[in-house]
Amino acid sequence: MNIKLKIWRQKNAKAKGKFVNYSLDNVSPEMSFLEMLDALNNKLIIEGDEPVAFEHDCREGICGCCSLYINGTPHGPGEKTTTCELHMRSFKDGQTIVVEPWRSKAFPVMKDLIVDRNAFDKIIAAGGFISIDAGSSQDSNAVLVRKEKADEAFISASCIGCGACVAACKNASAMLFVSAKVSQFALLPQGKVEAVERVQAMVAKMDELGFGNCTNTYACEAVCPKGISVTNIARMNREFLYAKIS
């Protein structure tokens, strides 16, 4: 296949960026999207140009490193698919693909397609944990947890922190990410003790960092590669309300 690429290039956080066009031959439908970018970079390096910087590590959809707006959608066209899991068989010969970094005030561009998602760590540090020091826990089976609750908590906990939800949201809201963590702990008995403080601290931090409000457009849920549902947001709102009155 031949693929035409239109890629956002930006030297560093301060520089002004622009789109640059590339054409790449011999793309195989079996290649992953990132392997296609590897091939482009290989070509650029040999021709004496600078390769395109993009983030990646596990290349199997679990670390949350990879990002990329592909033809206007975070993580591209696949359903519940991260960019690294996307394969070129999803594109057609001769197609033009536009590749951009996450666009969000909370995630400034650092270089080309790499953005700074440090804000997520700050939110977790504000309250996204259960306060238990090593050595003070009791036997795991001392507290029973209903299977369906544990399974539900697991689904919320499977968020990979990629930031696609923020990138897709017109308000740059981090509600899906934050509510997934709040939900995981709200569903488990271990998390109940600090539930009030947790939701307040995390929401306050989220607001402080400049993430926008949620206006229920559900764009986040549509792009989330892990299928994190907006029901988490509803649960967090209930937790928040409860925290206020208690």
Binding site: N12, I45, E55, I62, I114, D116, N118, F129, I130, S140
Partner: protein
């Protein structure tokens, strides 16, 4: 002269850890506040250690090369984490877990360390559960278990096929809690490029800020490495592609000895190589062998689609060769058996380099829903990559580089041969001998971090309470920084025509062909020569674009590959020295008539411990003799 002292505490096996803790020196809380610890790595080992040391009151500075600690490679672990809880009432105990690991490691690990790893496993599961890790549960609300290879009990805790993610996120939340409290300071997007040793003690590191390119000096009273394994030396492996061996290599060059470098685990089941562009081999967890059956056609070169091959024409070769363990043989055995069938011409797929992993029977018996509940995400992953639906057709799998049992040599306190330098998690050589059993790495990493290092580091730190803050103005820091600057300059100066990745691929192929699942003297000797030639070519013709003072991913890769040439030679040298077969190290010269690995206890019952003597010099071999006091050394038999 550095003496190899493993510092194994006195007493019966089951009392060693208790005795050790009762007698080790402590640091009082007021003094801990004045002590700085540098910790490199935020995988399960590093994150668990960081939070625990922070809880104790030390000042901890933590480093990782990703943008956030939560993305460390541990996040990708799939199948599970072991503990000797005996919740299943199936005869499990700390001793049995210890024994399984000793046997699984083919009697090439240290009894005392392994026993302790088994001993702290129960507290580790409790800690993770308390942190909110949503492990799978039974309908009655208790934790569920599954089986893993090489054992006959069910002791593996899991969270679908995402156990590593869930455990890491638990440990990460503990780490972030300490960051919020100010006991731990996080330095992400930093790569440690050099270790600083002052008066014989590890006192700091040089890091490159991966955003600005600036070299930074960080000092501490002690340094802990939790930098993971070096499986990416094969280029294609199941590891996250940025995993590397450079931190361990830097420590080795500064005087930390390296233990059993050639002990590398090749995992029997990953998605096979499909094309030449492939950048990674995705693991299909061992847990799948609880329900999946491995087979190849009985007829050589049978190219019919798997579903068209009738039952009686299938060779379930693991069940045939190893009736007692069947599909759940240990990894090294499973990998070699797959290679044997493929080499003999029975492999499936276009390349003939894969075998079937079939769920037909399990789906018929338990229903699709039950299988989906257990392995849903793995099946999805498989389909996304290959375009094939494994509910309908068997998966095709093949072995690939996965885990390094070898690593920095450490004593019972997890201290390397450089005083004040510790190594935890996969980066050390300690607990898995010549082969690691499934679900025991997460167990070791978390155990090292939560319960071992917080207890053992005190012995060293208690000797440092009168040492004031270590100044980064020391000449040793200057020198280390200068060395790093020189290396970076040298990499740019080559300005050749070939990409870093092309060299990495070629190195990987040399290692896979000659120092992979099966090794022989001729191949290993050839590999030494090929590595030298490739290294020379690298330093003449590699192209590193861009500059130092910006994000430069090619520069990062170049430094890691440059280090891998040295480590590759060390692996091969170790493999050459070890003339026996044991665990994952299969020397063709040493096998039984039926093709099983033949150990040679009379000559090789030791840990090979290598000392760096210079880039152009042969490393020096020392031996830590393995004296089995508590278990009887037997032939490892899974039949």
């Amino acid at each position: 002269m550095i003496k190899l002292d493993s510092k194994i505490p006195e007493g019966p096996l089951a009392e060693k850890w208790t005795n050790y803790r009762a007698s080790q020196k402590l640091v009082n809380p007021a003094n801990k506040k004045k002590q700085d610890i540098i910790l490199v790595g935020t995988g399960l080992a590093g994150s668990a250690a960081a939070s625990s040391l922070g809880e104790l009151g030390y000042n901890v500075k933590v480093f990782c090369f990703q943008d956030t600690p939560r993305r460390a490679h541990s996040v990708a672990a799939q199948g599970g984490i072991n503990a000797a809880k005996n919740y299943k009432n199936d005869g499990d105990s700390v001793y049995r877990l210890f024994y399984d690991m000793i046997k699984g490691g083919d009697y090439r690990s240290r009894e005392a360390n392994v026993y302790r790893a088994a001993e702290v496993s129960n507290a580790t599961i409790d800690q993770l559960t308390a942190q909110g890790v949503p492990f799978a549960r039974e309908y009655g609300g208790t934790l569920d278990n599954r089986s893993f290879g090489g054992v006959q009990v069910s002791r593996t805790f899991y969270a679908k096929g995402q156990t590593g993610q869930q455990c890491l996120l638990g440990a990460y939340s503990g780490l972030l809690r300490q960051i919020g409290k100010g006991t731990v300071t996080m330095y992400s997007r930093r790569e440690m490029l050099e270790l600083v040793v002052i008066d014989g003690k590890a006192r700091g590191i040089i890091t490159r800020n991966l955003v600005t390119g600036e070299l930074e000096k960080h000092s501490g009273h002690a340094v802990i490495l939790a930098t993971g394994g070096y499986g990416t030396i094969y280029y294609l492996s199941t590891l996250a592609v940025n995993s590397n061996g450079s931190a361990a290599w830097a420590a080795y060059k500064k005087g930390a000895f390296f233990g059993n470098p050639s002990f590398v685990q090749i995992h029997p089941s990953s998605i096979p190589v499909l094309n030449e562009y492939q950048s990674k081999l995705t693991l299909m967890s061992e847990s799948l062998r609880n329900d999946g059956r491995v087979w190849v056609p009985k007829k050589k070169g049978d190219k019919r689609p798997a579903n068209d091959i009738p039952e009686e024409e299938r060779d379930y070769y693991l069940e045939r060769r190893y009736p007692a363990y069947g599909n759940l043989v240990p990894r090294d055995v499973g990998s070699r058996a797959a290679k044997e069938r493929c080499d003999a011409g029975y492999g499936v797929g276009d390349t003939g380099l894969s075998v079937n992993l079939d769920f037909k029977d399990a789906i018929a018996k338990q229903g699709k829903k039950a299988i989906e509940d257990k392995y849903g995400n793995l099946f999805e992953m498989y389909e996304k990559i290959t375009g094939i639906n494994p509910y309908e057709e068997p998966m095709r799998i093949y072995p690939s580089g996965h885990y390094t049992m070898g690593g920095l040599w450490v004593d019972y306190e997890l201290m390397t041969t450089i005083p004040g330098l510790f190594a935890i998690g996969e980066s050390n050589f300690s607990d898995h001998g010549a082969n690691r059993l499934g679900a025991s790495s997460l167990m070791q990493c978390a155990g090292d971090g939560y319960f071992v290092i917080p207890n053992t580091i005190g012995n060293f730190m208690s000797g440092e309470i009168r040492t004031s803050k270590i100044s980064t103005d020391a000449p040793e820091f200057e020198k280390a920084e200068k060395d790093v600057t020189e290396k970076i300059k040298k990499l740019f100066a080559v300005n050749g025509k070939q990409t870093v990745t092309s060299f990495h691929k070629r190195l990987g192929k040399i290692m896979w062909d000659n120092s992979g699942m099966s090794r022989n003297e001729e191949g290993l000797k050839k590999a030494l020569k090929l590595i030298d030639e490739l290294k020379e070519e690298f330093w003449k013709d590699v192209k590193v674009p861009g500059t130092n003072d910006e994000i430069n991913q090619e520069l990062e890769k170049a430094g890691r590959v440059a280090d891998y040439f040295g480590l590759a030679k060390l692996i091969v040298t170790d493999g050459l020295n070890r003339g026996e077969s044991c665990g994952a190290h299969f020397r063709e010269e040493s096998q039984t008539e039926t093709g099983e690995a033949k150990r040679d206890d009379a000559n090789y019952s030791y840990v090979s411990v290598w000392e760096y003597k210079g880039d152009e010099q042969e490393p020096k071999l020392r031996k830590e003799d393995l004296n089995y006091e508590f278990v009887e050394v037997k032939e490892r038999d899974y039949k």
